[in-house]
């Protein structure tokens, strides 16, 4: 899936402004951003639910304007509701029929079992809790043998166990070569399963790249005593130093195998007593907040 230059205005408000992104086969891409950043609008434009004012979308090798492009696309909407007068099994049957795929009853049962609804297959959806409806939504997204799955806030109504289930499902999709676009507020969730992240802010792509690219900056925390001026100079030479009592945090601009061992060896040679060395990584949350803060400072 790729899209380029997507633009959408609602009246005077620009919801999405020149968004381009792509998701490759077997790749899990996370869509992050604050409320109102345009994430759901982008997703709806990819699926033909919202007409873009400008831009182009290709789904599985076809222009998204053709309904056939969505034949192998699974979608769990943020606003998940299913026909309350149907049973869970009937909802899946309906979606299989609309998708035009030939999915056996056994396969449909397996998908319901995968999302933990095996014993509720015959129950009316109207009696389901929100969490169960979201699980059903996940089954709907997965039932017609998709090659590209779009999950918009897939865990918003789920308990912690359900969230782990979703994470496992996403990882198993990736292992089967299925592309996944995951929109989630839960940064930890995105960090655990996504290969790449696209950060949207006010309708624009504020940053994008692999987790390594976005979180490339590593740091090391050290508990040191007896640090002579030469030792402090060595630390400052390694990167920006932040000191709290005897704890020194050094942001490392380059991260190769040798940086930390060399630093520790040099410090020891300078007579510094090294009590602890903890590798650290800037979390996606810190990075996201940093990007969004920089964006709002630039605007002001």
């Amino acid at each position: 899936m790729w899209c380029t230059g997507l633009r959408k205005r609602y009246g005077k408000r620009t919801a999405v402004d020149g968004v381009s992104l792509e998701v490759g086969r077997g790749e899990v891409v996370g869509l992050l951003g604050p409320n109102g950043a345009g994430k759901t609008t982008v997703i709806k434009m990819l699926l033909g639910l919202v007409r873009p004012d400008a831009g182009e979308v290709m789904l599985l090798g076809r222009p998204a304007a053709e309904p056939a492009a969505r034949a192998r696309v699974g979608y769990l909407p943020e606003l998940f509701r299913y026909q309350p007068w149907l049973s869970a099994a009937e909802v899946l049957e309906l979606h299989v029929r609309l998708s035009g795929m030939d999915v056996t009853a056994d396969e449909r049962r397996d998908v319901l079992a995968l999302v933990g609804l095996a014993d509720r297959a015959g129950d009316r959806v109207g009696g389901f809790s929100k969490g169960m409806q979201q699980r059903l939504g996940l089954a709907v997204a997965l039932v017609a043998r998709p090659e590209f799955v779009v999950l918009d806030e897939p865990t918003s109504a789920l308990d912690p166990l359900g969230r782990v289930d979703v994470r496992d499902i996403v990882l198993s999709l990736r292992s089967r070569g299925i592309a996944v676009l995951l929109n989630s507020h839960l940064i930890g969730e995105v960090e655990r399963v996504c290969d790449r992240v696209v950060i949207l802010d006010r309708g624009r792509v504020a940053a994008s790249g692999s987790l390594l690219e976005l979180l490339g900056q590593h740091e090391v925390r050290m508990h040191l005593t007896g640090v002579p001026p030469a030792g402090e100079a060595r630390l400052a030479g390694a990167g920006q130093v932040h000191r709290e009592g005897e704890w020194f945090t050094v942001a490392l601009p380059v991260d190769d195998e040798a940086t930390v061992p060399d630093l520790v060896a040099d410090l020891a040679a300078l007579g510094v007593r090294v009590h602890a060395v903890e590798p650290g990584r800037i979390s996606l949350e810190e990075r996201l907040l940093g990007i969004l803060r920089d964006g709002s400072e630039e605007r002001s």
């Binding site: 033909g48 639910l49 007409r51 696309v73 979608y75 509701r81 007068w85 035009g100 709907v140």
Partner: protein
């Protein structure tokens, strides 16, 4: 395309059945049939010797048209209030999101919904109307001159109204679409009656009110055609020929082919507008 249309039509019918709309209509119809059957039988028993056969046929015609109007009103209310929730309600609640993200054209989805509603509404008036005709036959021994045409026109009237309701539900909220559709249906009927009075009094200006409203929304025109098929041909003469036009439950003339053509064109145009509006809509 056909697969999607039939699947969605089937789904719409299943919704009507599962949401107890079918049951409610069936109960209502049975009550109406029972009450009218009792009324007709009393009428036959109490006027047995006092009415001429012509008078009896006139009264049976009027009563039959009156009861049929009841059915067409139930069908109008039922389909108008079913069309709103099933289309506008689904887009509002989010049910349509997962469905329309499937490889289907929105126009096919809309056609399926419309077909389901037409089957439901038209099926109801035809079955209920047929049951009523049988009841009248059994109680007062009256059989309308062209029941098939009349029932078909009743079904057409329901189709016209629900096509309007479908168009409205693509642009306004589910509740508003039902209210507006039924409101327009009643307004056209009243305008038709006013026009009839104008014609009976020889006032062309007032008569035009009915004619214009029948062109704008063909429900009343089709209803008058249906009445003409239910009533005894001699009834109108008994009532005073063309002056019968002033009476809302008798119809002076059958429908013209041109008017039927217009009704078909009207449905096609309004459906087309609904499709354009629905296809362009952001969900």
């Amino acid at each position: 395309m056909t697969r999607v249309v039939l699947t969605v039509a089937g789904l719409t019918l299943r919704e009507a059945a599962r949401r107890r709309v079918l049951l409610a209509l069936a109960v209502l119809t049975l009550v109406l049939i029972a009450v009218s059957g009792w009324g007709f039988s009393r009428f036959a028993a109490e006027t047995g010797g006092t009415l001429t056969s012509g008078e009896a046929r006139l009264t049976a015609s009027i009563l039959l048209n009156l009861v049929m109007f009841g059915y067409s009103l139930i069908a109008a209310l039922g389909t108008a209030f079913l069309a709103g929730p099933t289309l506008a309600g689904e887009t509002e609640s989010g049910i349509a999101l997962a469905v329309l993200a499937r490889p289907i054209r929105r126009s096919a989805f809309l056609l399926g919904k419309w077909l389901g509603l037409v089957t439901f509404g038209a099926g109801f008036v035809v079955l209920a109307g047929l049951a009523q005709i049988v009841v009248v036959r059994l109680t007062v021994d009256y059989w309308p001159p062209s029941p098939v045409t009349a029932l078909a026109l009743l079904a057409a009237q329901t189709t016209v109204l629900l096509t309007l309701a479908v168009l409205l539900s693509t642009v306004i909220s589910p509740m508003a679409s039902g209210v507006v559709a039924v409101g327009l249906f009643c307004t056209t009927w009243v305008a038709g009656v006013v026009g009839g009075i104008g014609a009976a009094l020889g006032n062309d200006g007032v008569a035009r009110v009915g004619a214009v409203s029948r062109v704008l929304l063909p429900t009343d025109g089709l209803w008058r055609g249906a009445m003409h098929g239910f009533q005894d041909p001699s009834a109108l003469l008994q009532f005073g020929g063309a002056d019968g036009e002033a009476f809302p439950f008798l119809s002076v003339a059958p429908l013209t082919v041109a008017y039927l053509g217009w009704a078909v064109l009207w449905v096609a145009m309004v459906w087309g507008l609904a499709a354009v509006s629905f296809v362009r809509r952001d969900l």
